[in-house]
Amino acid sequence: MMPDDKKLDKDLAILDAVYEEAAIEAGENARNQPRTAERQAKVDTMLARAQAAVRATREQALADAQDASDQQAKPIPARILGVARDAVVARLRELTHSAEAAGLEPAFQFRELDKLSTEDLQRLLADLEEQLD
């Protein structure tokens, strides 16, 4: 017979609390228990995965910090600063085709250009020109 909802809530609360206590006990006692080779391998793998996640977080943050720093530090060259948005886009497309023809991979795609501000496009053009120089 199906236990009623209230009864089930109560049973779940009991089970939850019992296993919480058992879990606390298991966690606290882990340090006193020798690890088998199998256990050691499992924990090693877990630690390696966790450390990889830490590294990925750190590297992404460092890259973002570097990007932000580059954006702030590098001024847009005067020769590009006055160029209109359409002309910047046209020049970017032209240089991208040249880069592709030379076997290089452009760091952006045409479809994303619309989402960028004119200033960002000008920076992109400056970077691309520098790379292809």
């Binding site: 199906m2 236990p3 009864k7 089930l8 109560k10 049973d11 779940l12 609360a13 009991i14 089970l15 939850d16 609390a17 019992v18 296993y19 919480e20 206590e21 058992a22 879990a23 606390i24 006990e25 298991a26 966690g27 606290e28 006692n29 882990a30 340090r31 690890r35 256990r39 499992k42 924990v43 090693d44 793998t45 877990m46 630690l47 995965r49 966790a50 450390q51 996640a53 830490v54 590294r55 977080t57 750190r58 992404q60 943050a61 460092l62 973002d64 910090a65 932000a68």
Partner: protein, 209 residues
């Protein structure tokens, strides 16, 4: 991956704080803790992998989904919620692992697919949509609690039965349970250990079956 709105320096600091506490002992303890939490899912007819729960909790910490204050809680307490030794942490730190386990266990009987804790995985949702499975899971939960009570009655252990009743009423704090039973906390600690031995016996029985 979307843009992370947190300042890079904050993320670097957080990653360093996590890295400083990550070691084999922490992973071992956390996995054992999570393993026991997963047992409640199994009793409810569901399944979760302890190592994955720990990894998820660590990644949620790094991504900021689960905010962690290293000044207040150790990484272990934050990730697992194994906080019996500190009243402050017990009162304030609700961790990813138990929240997920609890959410999943409760999700086992829900018919509307809702998930209060936001942690019921899609495959489990499909499972709970099956009325027959819900019925089976509810019966398993009820049977497990009945068996635990039966074991305590067999030993005529009134204190363990009292603890089970207190848990059923939502009283789980050490001092509160002891007060509810009208005993001191030391006696409660002893009774709690007897209860855990009975629960462990129940698990062994389930393994043998």
């Amino acid at each position: 991956m979307g843009h992370d709105p947190r300042p890079p320096t904050a993320r670097i600091k957080l990653a360093a704080a996590v890295a400083a506490q990550l070691d084999l002992d922490l992973m071992d303890s956390a996995e054992r803790y999570a393993g026991k939490r997963c047992a409640i899912l199994e009793k409810a007819g569901l399944w979760a992998d302890a190592a994955e729960l720990v990894q998820d909790a660590i990644e949620a910490t790094l991504s900021g989904t689960r905010a962690w204050d290293p000044e207040r809680y150790s990484l272990y307490h934050h990730v697992c919620g194994g906080y019996r030794k500190s009243d402050d942490e017990h009162a304030q730190a609700r961790a990813e692992v138990p929240a997920r386990a609890h959410g999943r266990a409760r999700g086992a009987r829900r018919s509307d697919g809702s998930d209060r804790d936001g942690c019921v995985a899609a495959p489990l949702r499909q499972e709970q949509d099956d009325a027959e499975t819900q019925l089976l899971n509810a019966e398993r939960v009820h049977r497990t609690v009945s068996q635990l009570r039966a074991l305590a009655e067999e030993k005529n252990d009134r204190q363990v039965l009292g603890i089970i009743d207190a848990y059923g009423e939502g009283i789980t704090e050490r001092a509160e349970v002891a007060a509810h039973l009208g005993i001191g906390v030391r006696k409660y600690d002893h009774a709690r250990m007897r209860m855990l031995r009975l629960a462990s016996k129940l698990e062994e029985g389930a393994d043998d079956a």
